[in-house]
């Protein structure tokens, strides 16, 4: 036989260099070896661009020219840009209305679905289907639904009932909610499924104990179900907050990429896209992404705190 380090069949390859290291060090090394690829990947496609974006936000850059350092000019311009404040207002309207309405609806559906035995799986699947559909296709279908007569279904129904037509997407007051509706509808299935899982995780004994103490449905809901669903609710609030803060595809598809009329539906992400690829002002667009990043970061940190205290 040769030296002890020669690998035989079925024996692991051994490097004498590694033998000299302690077991602990070797474990750490192999952990890092496995982590190296994702770390490199993250550094290259996440951290580096993020850092670069921070720098770009301090420059004036039209994509084709050199970057010119302008300090905090872009942020100063943001503060005085009326469209930016309008867009921030819209974004938070999407966020607040979207999260409240979608969570209320999905909880109501899940709460009742949880008690239905007959056709449970089918109903659950039906609620989930919109979540699987392409946002752009769905946005276009809704866009048609909102049209004035002769092609719009909603207005067709209104006219049939003898009511006046509504402008929906062509109104500065209604358009934002008209865009929000399909976004809520599409997210509903996902939220229902998560709520159902949360409801299933509540031990039956608590309900039995509550029933023995004479609690009705309502009191069981308020004192057992809701408190125990807290982690689920926190999770859904955070996930859907991030989704509504980044709303883009519905608005883009339903308003011809304009966020109109008169910017009444334009969210921050659409303004960023427009600044970057319509006006070619990369520095100014990046400054807006930094603002969005800070908001998303704040929400994620808040989530961590809430989950820890839960």
């Amino acid at each position: 036989m040769g030296g002890p380090a020669r690998p035989g069949p079925g024996r692991p390859l051994r490097l004498p260099m590694l033998d000299r290291l302690s077991l602990r060090t070797r474990r750490t090394l192999s952990a890092w070896a496995f982590l190296a690829l994702p770390v490199a990947f993250y550094v290259a496609i996440r951290f580096y661009p993020t850092a670069d974006a921070l720098l770009t936000s301090l420059t004036d850059w039209n994509i084709v020219g050199p970057r010119r350092f302008v300090g905090l000019d872009n942020y100063r311009r943001l503060a005085t840009d009326p469209t930016f404040w309008k867009v921030m207002g819209n974004t938070f309207q999407y966020l607040i209305v979207g999260v409240t309405v979608s969570l209320t609806l999905s909880f109501l559906v899940a709460y009742h679905l949880d008690r239905v035995r007959f056709g449970h799986a089918l109903l659950r699947a039906l609620y989930f289907v919109p979540h699987l559909t392409t946002a752009v296709a769905m946005a276009w279908v809704w866009r048609w639904l909102y049209q004035p007569v002769p092609i719009g279904v909603f207005n067709g129904l209104l006219v049939w009932a003898g009511l006046p037509q509504q402008p929906f997407l062509r109104s500065t007051e209604q358009a934002l909610y008209a865009v929000l509706a399909p976004a809520i509808w599409a997210g509903l299935g996902f939220q229902v499924v998560i709520f159902l899982a949360g409801l299933k995780a509540i031990p039956q004994e608590y309900y039995e104990a509550a029933a023995i103490d004479g609690a009705g449905n309502w009191r069981a809901l308020v004192h057992v179900t809701l408190p125990l669903l807290r982690p689920t609710v926190v999770f859904l609030v955070v996930v859907s907050s991030i989704a509504f803060l980044r709303i883009f595809d519905y608005v883009y598809s339903m308003t011809n990429g304009q966020g109109g009329p008169l910017d009444s539906t334009k969210p921050l992400v659409l303004k960023i896209y427009e600044t970057a690829f319509g006006h070619f002002q990369m520095g100014y667009a990046t400054a807006q992404t930094v603002v969005l990043f800070v908001i998303l970061l704040a929400i994620s940190l808040l989530q961590l705190r809430l989950l820890r205290s839960a």
Partner: protein, 417 residues
């Protein structure tokens, strides 16, 4: 015999070397944005060019519109990317500032010749006495009318409106509503997101006696009674006369295409789609005049040579650019893409000038204006919002125009600072 053999071998070798030197090919790259008809047209032109120039290979790259500027800007300073590149006429200043173009070689592109042969709007491509780009094709606007709807409304399907007043009268007749006043068929398709903002800017404002910008292009000039009249006349179509409705059938093209609008303003690039629509019996005519004044809006994409092309590549690039701006290339472009020839001689050939569809666009080119946009996206939106404020918010026209003018002046100032 032996010497003879060697001689033959030597001769053969010399020929072989000379042959490879002759077959030494130069490869150049051409870039444009992805748009099916444009891609097919360039592919066809490259095939013809390579057949005529065996020593040159052209590599065709097309990039999605949203990434187009970014990729070019990243590639050229790194010595990569296109030797010949397509760009929108309004981008020239940005490209020059970023040093993405070199002046066209005068041997092949003589300034006097360009100005003699091309439509005058090409002059915007001349900076400090030298041309940096030339167009293959140009676009202008025309009035589309639906002959079937004309006949149904009791109008003569062979007689489109010649003036704005006639247009309004006919649009009224073409409009259908239900008992509650809901629009069922639009007299005119209204869509500021498509070509209507150009019509308003370069045609209606001029026809009402104003001009959109100062002659040097540095100041907004439409915040005048003439400008107010133009915006009021256009908004009235929707609010007062109700011959159209913004967003009717989602957009103007759909409304006209589905036979639910009698009239529409659009470009020649729409012809292919409309021709493919069964049951749509339409025709095209020059834009209506007003008080004897005519105007039109023209825009175009141009091709230029980047600094990457040097030596043999520069010569090849210039040859290719020359080739894609020949009369033959322009005819092919018209047929495949539906955009009009940029050379007057080609456009004014009888077959094209009197063509039942292209003819109107060509005749309109003769008196068309090309807006000097500093930021087309933003300037279009300013016009859309100006009309929306009047239509949706009932803001008085002078106020809305003043607001748009102030905002647009800011854009111009930022550009010319």
């Amino acid at each position: 015999m032996r010497t003879g053999k060697w001689l033959l071998v030597a001769l053969g070798l010399t020929l072989a070397i000379a042959g490879t030197a002759g077959a030494q090919t130069v490869e150049i790259e051409y870039w444009q944005y992805t748009f099916a008809q444009r891609v097919q047209a360039i592919d066809e032109l490259i095939k013809r060019f390579e057949a005529e120039n065996p020593g040159i290979k052209v590599k065709h790259t097309h990039v999605p519109y949203d990434d187009f500027r970014l990729k070019i800007a990243a590639a050229i300073p790194a010595g990569q990317g296109p030797d010949v590149v397509q760009l929108f006429y309004g981008w020239l200043q940005d490209y020059l500032k970023a040093k993405l173009l070199q002046p066209l070689p005068t041997e092949l592109f003589d300034s006097a010749e360009i100005e003699r042969d091309f439509f005058p709007l090409v002059k915007q491509m001349k900076v400090d006495g030298r041309y940096y780009a030339v167009p293959t094709a140009v676009r202008s606007l025309s009035l589309f009318w639906n002959r079937k709807l004309f006949a149904e409304a009791g109008l003569d399907p062979a007689k489109p409106p010649q003036t704005l007043d006639e247009l309004l009268v006919m649009a009224r007749k073409l409009t259908k509503t239900d008992a509650a006043g809901n629009l069922l068929q639009a007299g005119m398709a209204l869509d500021m997101g498509l070509q209507d903002h150009h019509w308003l800017r370069e045609v209606l404002i001029r026809q009402m006696g104003g001009q959109p910008y100062s002659t040097d292009g540095r100041s907004v000039a439409y915040n005048t009674p003439a400008g107010h009249r133009a915006v009021a006349w256009y908004s009235d179509l929707a609010t007062k006369h109700k011959v159209g409705q913004f967003g009717f059938l989602t957009d103007g093209v759909t409304a006209f295409r589905s036979g639910k609008a009698g009239l529409m303003i659009d470009g020649s690039f729409r012809l292919a789609a409309f021709d493919a629509q069964t049951g749509l019996d339409y025709a095209v005519t020059e834009l209506p005049t007003h008080q004897g004044k005519r105007s039109n809006f023209a825009s175009y994409w141009v091709n230029g040579i980047t600094p990457k092309a040097t030596g043999a590549k520069r010569d090849a690039a210039a040859k290719f650019l020359k080739f894609i701006t020949t009369p033959a290339a322009m005819e092919l472009w018209l047929e495949k893409v539906g955009e009009l020839p940029a050379r007057k001689a080609v456009a004014e050939r009888d077959a094209i000038r009197t063509h039942p569809k292209y003819g109107a666009f060509i005749r309109g080119l003769a008196y068309a204006e090309a807006t000097f946009f500093v930021n087309e996206t933003a300037q279009r939106k300013l016009f859309m919002d100006m009309v929306d404020r009047v239509v949706l918010k009932s803001q008085p026209v002078p106020e809305s125009v003043a607001q748009a003018a102030a905002e647009e002046q800011k854009l111009l100032d930022a550009f010319f600072k």
